[in-house]
Assembly symmetry: C2
Homo-oligomer: 422 residues x 2
């Protein structure tokens, strides 16, 4: 039988799976579940007469995700069949029998009272956390929310301390409601970052506009540091070597529910922009956008979702960074439904003390590399919170900007305490 | 996208998936991992020189299962890749990219001390619980036994009280060892029931010998009662109606680890034989054999394994009884890698108070059926323990035999207290 190791070659199934055109979305097409403007008034009138289901802030993020096609083939909150397929097999099955990846249940919970109110009905209206009408759920199906099973099969543990569980699931209702989604108007956050929230359709359009023949997506959590920059520039080099003429990089931080101690997104987005401005990454071949999904922090199960959603956004290469969790890379390389995506593994970058720059680790002269410096590449929470803007400090002296000034100010530069000094 | 409801039609994908010949084993071929007799002596000499890994009674049951090909395409205790595929996707992937079902990790745990002893070696010998040489594991791989994750993803819960967890996993070592299996001689139990332990190869041979053109497997837990008999005879009728000329029934109780309060197998096997003797089931078209797997009691995850193993044994129809767990039937009908198996759902049988016999429930005259009698069809533990032989009491008066005599003796017949009286 097949052994499926995490390949040491840079791409999975090169030759057989690399597409010369952009990758097909799961289910064959995207969706835009926002009702056309000329029908909005009548849909709103219709929704106003329906019984209402109240959404939390995070439910609304999922409405956003589904409505733009990130979760294709889904165009619904999962009914029980999809829920069970996702939970047991991390997959959905298409009509032709083929499997697409779907590692997380994308579900809407309701409480007993709401269930009683809507039971037996076909359609319900969705209300946002601010009581505004958000959308309609059609042909609903209500089924039991087996929370413990959902948690155990999604996270592989039921231990306390899982951020999504504590924030979302513990307090959620005992029932799940599936149904086809219609959204009354595009979901906006008015936080100054909506311009970064490009839908899969918009991203694909932009890739076409730039005449991309390969798109590599990279989801990162922190301000770009030198290891990232090296990685991303090296990815470009590798894609060019493979014969692609115009590879585009999608720099794609997740925004949606994250635990409180992640670096604030506005700080990160400003830093990403600065990295482009300073030419550390080429603005001609790099797109910075926001992935609107909530974060499950569910290790290998989450990683699959992150990769799958980028297929729908048009990326045919997915850059996997530091192993995001036990077995994350390995599971990703094996996952049913992700065969068409080329996984580009992170190559370990470390500080080369001889060349005095960040470089990919060379095991033949291991002693020249200082991996102990690596943790310092992470922006500390305190710094991220108080910095008006951070930037990336590179070995070639570019991009000193405010971070260094900040570091100097704080006297953090001594003994390499500044996280961005590499 | 596809909705995949649990079909109300008797077969899944009839026409497209029903095979006129017996079903192909997963991986395309069976295996017999017992070394040929002419090589036994040299293999034993070789094994005697290897470091030893001690097996528990249940490990030995898995050796039995793997060695006969029930778990094909496995011919090994899982290495980490197979383990992760099984745990996350309930599947294994073949070299051609196709998926076969494998819902349970089939793994061998070792403790820290054993790991230290064998680390870096290629091959180890396996010792049975009685210290006898059992086999060899080749090209071993040792990896971490993440018990909590294994439990959470297999059972969908980590709550105490899971029989397999408490018996097998809790006390198991912190490492798993994968490797290709060679068995020095066939696993035997010498409990008087070995003659019922037909391997997949033996079963297939028997089906060929009887010129079966369809084989339906039924795993049952209890002595055959009238509901079962009705079901199985009705299955035959349906298969004949579908055009099969010679459908064979494989009556296939599981034997391997079971929790203490299940009805003892020797009692059940005797009852099954009696049912054939009495002609309740036709001995010409029925084979009674034992499935040697341990039982996980893991609901829908276990059910997939039970179905998958019967594919390897040559069954192309699988009869699913009373929903063995929440969603068991539904998950089974959706499971990747089980598409080629035709699932025959249990039709609810109840006592028809008008016709005065067991019959399939007819919702149009629901009031005529007494489902409250159903629980009495289960042999109580106490009875099973003390009965020298039990039999099935049918509405036509056949098979009175010792059960009834026992019931009379115990004055259990009054007010229908005897479980087998329907």
């Amino acid at each position: 039988m097949s052994s499926l190791p995490y390949s040491s070659s840079p791409t999975k199934g090169i030759g057989s799976t690399i597409k010369s055109s952009l990758i097909e979305p799961d289910g064959g097409s995207l969706v835009d579940l926002v009702v056309p403007e000329n029908k909005r008034a009548s849909k709103i009138s219709e929704a106003e007469l329906m019984p209402k289901v109240k959404l939390t802030k995070i439910d609304l993020e999922w409405v956003h995700v589904i409505s733009e096609g990130w979760a294709r083939p889904l165009k619904e909150f999962m009914r029980e069949d999809e829920y069970l397929l996702s939970l047991h097999f991390n997959c959905l099955r298409m009509k032709d029998g083929s499997l697409v990846n779907m590692s997380l249940p994308i579900v809407l919970a309701i409480d007993d009272e709401t269930k009683e109110k809507i039971e037996g009905l076909s359609d319900v209206a969705l209300l946002g956390p601010n009581e505004a009408l958000v959308g309609i759920l059609r042909s609903i199906e209500i089924y039991k929310h087996h929370k413990e099973e959902r948690i155990a099969r999604t996270w592989g543990t039921t231990a306390p301390g899982l951020p999504y569980v504590e924030e979302v699931i513990t307090s959620a209702g005992n029932w799940l409601i599936g149904g086809d989604l219609e959204v009354l108007q595009p979901v906006k956050y008015n936080d100054g970052l909506d311009r970064y929230r490009l839908s899969p359709q918009q991203l694909r359009k932009e890739f076409d506009h730039r005449q991309a023949d390969a798109v590599s997506a990279f989801q990162l959590w922190n301000p770009v540091h030198n290891g990232h920059a090296l990685l991303m520039n090296d990815t470009r080099r590798r894609l060019l070597e493979m014969g692609y003429k115009n590879p585009i990089l999608l720099l794609h931080p997740l925004r949606g529910f994250t635990k409180a101690d992640d670096v604030p997104l506005d700080v990160r987005m400003e830093q990403h922009s600065k990295v482009l401005e300073d030419g550390v990454l080429d603005p001609e071949t790099t797109i910075v956008a926001i992935f609107p999904s909530p974060m499950h922090y569910a290790g290998p199960t989450d990683v699959q979702w992150h990769a799958k959603a980028r297929i729908n956004a048009g990326a045919n290469f997915y850059i996997v960074g530091r192993d995001p969790a036990d077995h994350g890379k390995k599971v990703l390389s094996m996952a049913p439904g992700l065969e068409k995506l080329n996984i580009l593994p992170f190559r370990v970058a470390a500080y080369d003390t001889v060349e005095r720059r960040m470089a990919f680790f060379d095991p033949s002269r291991a002693k020249d590399f200082s991996s102990s410096l690596e943790p310092r590449c992470r922006l500390t929470l305190e710094m991220a919170r108080i910095l008006p803007m951070v930037s990336c400090v590179l070995e070639d002296g570019k991009s000193w900007s405010s971070t260094i000034r900040f570091c100097k100010l704080r006297r953090l530069m001594k003994s390499r305490q500044c996280c961005l000094l590499r």
